[in-house]
Symmetry: C2
Subunit: 292 residues, 2 copies
C-alpha cells in the first residue's frame, strides 16, 4: 500500500489529506470548491485539488460527491451497516482521471416506522473516524447546513435525525426579511435570549419574533443574527427525541462554540471532536483495513 | 367629501381602489410594485398607480408603505386601540405629491408578558373591514408571507401571533436545497402527507424529511412542493396557542384553499373573506367616519 489520499467533498467546501503508507500526514489542503462550485467540471476541480500529489496513491472520497447532484451517484447503504465495514462497500469512480484509482464512500439511509426516512453522506466517514479514535456509544451531533443527531450503538448508526438548522440560518440571514438586520459580531446575550425564546416552541412564530423585536424597537438590529442563531440552535436541541446526559460534537471551532453554549443551557455535557481529526482517523482506519 | 382612493401597499404587491362620494367602486388596479420593487422611487410608483384618477380625491394607504423600509415610517399604535378609531390616527404623508392629500394608516404593536412582541401593518385595515362587514369576535387568520392569527374582542385586536410560513416556503423553494425538487402542480395527497408529518413536531427535522424522502426514493420530486406546503401550513395550525372551533380567513383564493384543507384536517370551521372585499369595506368605513 502506497499511502492514501482522502477527500471530504461537501456541498460548499472540501478538504484533502495525503497520508503516507504509515498513515502519517504528508500534506493537506482545503478550499470552497464544494459540489455547488464544482458542478459540471468535477474532473478539473479534482485535479486542481490534488495537483502535485503522487498520481499512483489511491483516493477515497466521501460526502456530497456521491449524491445525485454530485460527481457520481452512489446508492445508500442501509443504516444497519457497521461503520467498520465501510471499506468493503467503496464504489469505484467510473470517470476516474487516467492513472488514478478513486473510490467513493457510500452514504447511509435510515427508514423508521411510519414512513420516516433520513440520509447522510460524509457523516458516516466522520463517525467511523470517531469510532477509530475510541469514542464510545451514544449520541453524536454533527452541526452544519444539515445538522445531524446520530445514535451510535455497537459501531452502527442505529438511528438519526437531520435538522435544517444551518440552511435556515443562511436562508433567513441572506435572502429573508431578517437579512436587513444582520450584524457580523457574535452577541452572547442575544444568543442566550434566542435560546430562551426557542424554549417556547412554535418556531415559525419565534422566527418572526426576531423581526418583530427589531422593528418594535425592543432589540438592536446588530443583535438579530445572534438571536436568530440562538433560536435555531436552541430549537434543534429541544426537538431531539431524548435528552442525553452527554453528546459527542463533531464540529469545527466556529460551530462547536454555540452548540456547547446550548448544551450548557440544558445541562448536557459535550466532548468535541474536530472534523479534521476524525476524517484523518477514518482514513488511517481505511488505510489499514483495505486491500487494493 | 369627494370620494376616496385606497391603496393596500405591501412588500411585494399593491392594490388601489377609487370610490366615489357614496362609496361606490369606480375603478381598481393591482400590480407587483410592492415596497421592494418601488424602493427609492415611491413617488413615481405612486403616480403610475393612480394615473388618470382625479388628483383631488384623498388617498389612504395601508401596509408596508408605513414601515421603516417603506415610503415613510409611521409609529405603531398600541394593540389596545379600537380599530373603529383608526381614522383618528391617520398620519399625513410628508412627501405627498403636489395637489394630493395622502395619509397612511398606522400599524399595530402588541407586547405580551415576558418580553414577547408582535406587529402588523396593513392587517389592521383588513380587520377593520371585516368588522365593518359584521364579522363577530373570534380568531382571524390572515395567511401570507407573514401569516397572522389575531384574536378580535370587542373591535380590538387583543393579541396575535405572526408566523413566517410564507417566507419560509418561498426561501426553501427558491434558494434552498428543496428548490431542485419543485413541481408547479398542487398534489393534494402530498399536501395531506405534509400536514400529517407536521403533526410530529420538530419542524427543522420535518423540513429535511422533505429532501430525505426524495433522495431516498420515497417521494417523487414533483410532490415536494406540495409536501413542503403541507408541512409549513400544518405547523402553523398546530403551533397556535388554542384550537378555536371556527376561524375567519382573510385570504385570497390561492391561500384560502390550503388553509381550508388544513382546517378540515383539524375539524375547525372556516369563514372566508376575500382581501379585496374587506379592504373595500374598510375604505367605505373610513369614508363615512373621516372628516378631512
Amino acid at each position: 500500500m502506497s499511502g492514501l489520499i482522502g477527500i471530504d467533498w461537501g456541498t460548499t467546501h472540501r478538504r484533502a489529506c495525503l497520508l503516507d503508507a504509515d498513515g502519517a500526514l504528508q500534506d493537506e489542503r482545503a478550499d470552497d470548491q464544494g459540489m455547488l462550485a464544482a458542478a459540471g467540471r468535477h474532473a478539473e476541480a479534482f485535479e486542481t485539488l490534488l495537483s502535485g500529489w503522487p498520481r499512483h496513491v489511491p483516493v477515497v472520497m466521501s460526502g456530497m460527491v456521491g449524491a445525485a447532484s454530485g460527481w457520481q451517484e452512489v446508492p445508500y447503504l442501509d443504516a444497519g451497516t457497521p461503520l467498520s465495514e465501510l471499506g468493503r462497500h467503496l464504489v469505484p469512480l467510473r470517470a476516474a482521471p487516467a492513472g488514478r484509482r478513486v473510490v467513493i464512500v457510500p452514504g447511509l439511509r435510515w427508514r423508521g416506522p411510519g414512513g420516516e426516512v433520513d440520509v447522510m453522506r460524509g457523516e458516516e466517514t466522520q463517525l467511523l473516524g470517531a469510532l477509530a479514535l475510541g469514542a464510545p456509544d451514544g449520541w453524536f451531533v454533527l452541526p452544519g447546513t444539515h445538522s445531524k443527531w446520530v445514535l451510535m450503538d455497537g459501531g452502527v448508526a442505529v438511528r438519526w435525525r437531520t435538522h435544517m438548522t444551518g440552511e435556515l440560518f443562511a436562508l433567513l440571514g441572506r435572502h429573508g426579511t431578517l437579512a436587513a438586520f444582520e450584524g457580523d459580531v457574535a452577541v452572547p446575550d442575544a444568543f442566550a435570549d434566542g435560546l430562551r425564546a426557542a424554549a417556547q416552541g412554535a418556531l415559525t412564530h419565534t422566527l418572526f419574533g426576531c423581526r418583530a423585536r427589531v422593528v418594535a424597537g425592543d432589540m438592536p438590529p446588530a443583535h438579530a443574527r445572534s438571536y436568530l442563531s440562538g433560536v435555531l440552535i436552541g430549537t434543534e436541541w429541544l426537538d431531539t427525541p431524548t435528552r442525553p446526559q452527554q453528546v459527542h460534537l463533531i464540529a469545527s471551532a466556529a460551530l462547536a462554540g454555540p452548540y456547547e453554549t446550548a448544551a450548557r443551557h440544558l445541562g448536557v455535557a459535550t466532548v468535541v471532536h474536530p472534523p479534521r481529526e476524525v476524517h484523518l482517523a477514518a482514513l488511517r482506519y481505511l488505510l489499514e483495513a483495505m486491500t487494493w
